[in-house]
Symmetry: C2
């Protein structure tokens, strides 16, 4: 019965979402609190009121973003343990699903300014940006977001190549992650070199390529015949 309450948390939320998009696009130094407040249709003083400082808003934006982004990995079936029956086949499915889900998440929208699922993909811009110049205090937030991804992939590889040493398994996982993220991060360069960009409609193609390339790279090329 109440008219739009429009109370505190609404404005705070608008500031947070505007901050997420602008920080992801332009970085911490690239945006001012005036621009953020304007996009959020709020007063710039509210940044200090709600978040203490511009840095506080930045940290809040990252946390806000990562807290609701883990879904795509958590939604996948848990990777099997080594002694589980049919562990190998399950790990294979997990790996394929992981590659596809990760790509889907990244390509939900490549341009955060034009997409409704913009928040989902903006998280990885923070990820990339923060890892280029890690700042004290921010590292933990990023790491908390990254670790589930790394752990999931590592668990798959542990089952698929239990004969490898841990170092070698880590290298394998890195090679796979490298490919997944490359097609998102370096889209600008790909677009320039290739003439056109990969978009959400290419997720299937990219997932297939990365999966096949990586399974062969893992030394499991024989498993491709029976499946592909």
């Amino acid at each position: 019965m109440k008219p739009p309450p429009d109370s505190s948390q609404d404005t705070r939320q608008r500031l947070l979402e505007a901050a997420v998009l602008l920080f992801a696009q332009k970085g911490f130094d690239g945006v001012g609190i005036r621009e953020i407040s304007q996009k959020a249709q709020a007063n710039s003083a509210l940044v200090q009121y709600y978040f203490g400082s511009k840095e506080g808003l930045y940290l809040a934006a990252m946390s806000f973003l990562f807290d609701q982004g883990i879904d795509s990995v958590a939604a996948l079936p848990a990777p099997p343990s080594l002694d589980e029956p049919e562990a190998f086949a399950k790990a294979l499915d997990c790996l394929k699903g992981y590659i596809h889900a990760f790509l889907e998440e990244l390509f939900a929208c490549h341009d955060p300014a034009k997409c409704s699922r913009e928040l989902q993909s903006a998280a990885h811009l923070f990820w990339t940006r923060e890892l280029m110049e890690p700042a004290a205090g921010r590292v933990d937030i990023i790491l908390g977001h990254v670790r589930p991804y790394a752990d999931y992939l590592a668990a798959c590889i542990r089952v698929l190549r239990p004969d490898l040493a841990e170092d070698a398994q880590f290298l394998m996982g890195s090679s796979i992650h490298a490919q997944i993220m490359f097609f998102h991060r370096d889209m600008s360069m790909i677009s320039l070199l290739r003439g056109s960009a990969y978009g959400p409609q290419d997720v299937g193609t990219l997932a297939t390529h990365i999966t096949e390339f990586s399974l062969r790279g893992l030394g499991l090329g024989n498993t491709l015949q029976g499946v592909q």
Copy 2:
């Protein structure tokens, strides 16, 4: 017989080199011309005198950097053409050499602040940074630097997998480039997840891993038996 001439071009050069290192580290918005001038032991007004503006200095720094960085690729033997005798074996060697040379260049120094060959590796920080938010006018400079790399790898793959369509060949090249750059760009994350970072002493290990992973990924796993 002259005491340090300290003439114009010397100051200009000092500004350029200071700009390269600081811009690569902190990005365009992260550094001020005062900080750059101080590091270069020059007056901040000289930025306008020599380069017109801060942006002019930034562009000059990128050009300066990329003009002298192509050596590492140009030093490699030219990739063979398709009809050349022993083209396959040559392309194989070129690919291996390329992966190693590229990694060597990237890992010449990971921390541009502490390294004598700092300029070499700083170029790729520009590369990564610029591709995240491409600005008009800067894209061409980056592309001019990237293209020789992309072309070299593409030429190798064309010989190694002539049966593939051009699109598929591009995907193969992307998967290889993705791995090479991942271990450099995401060193911060790797260091956090793995406990320690890869350094210049690990170039051999990384090159071997990427080469083997990629050759299997390319569907050339059989060639590894005879070599590795």
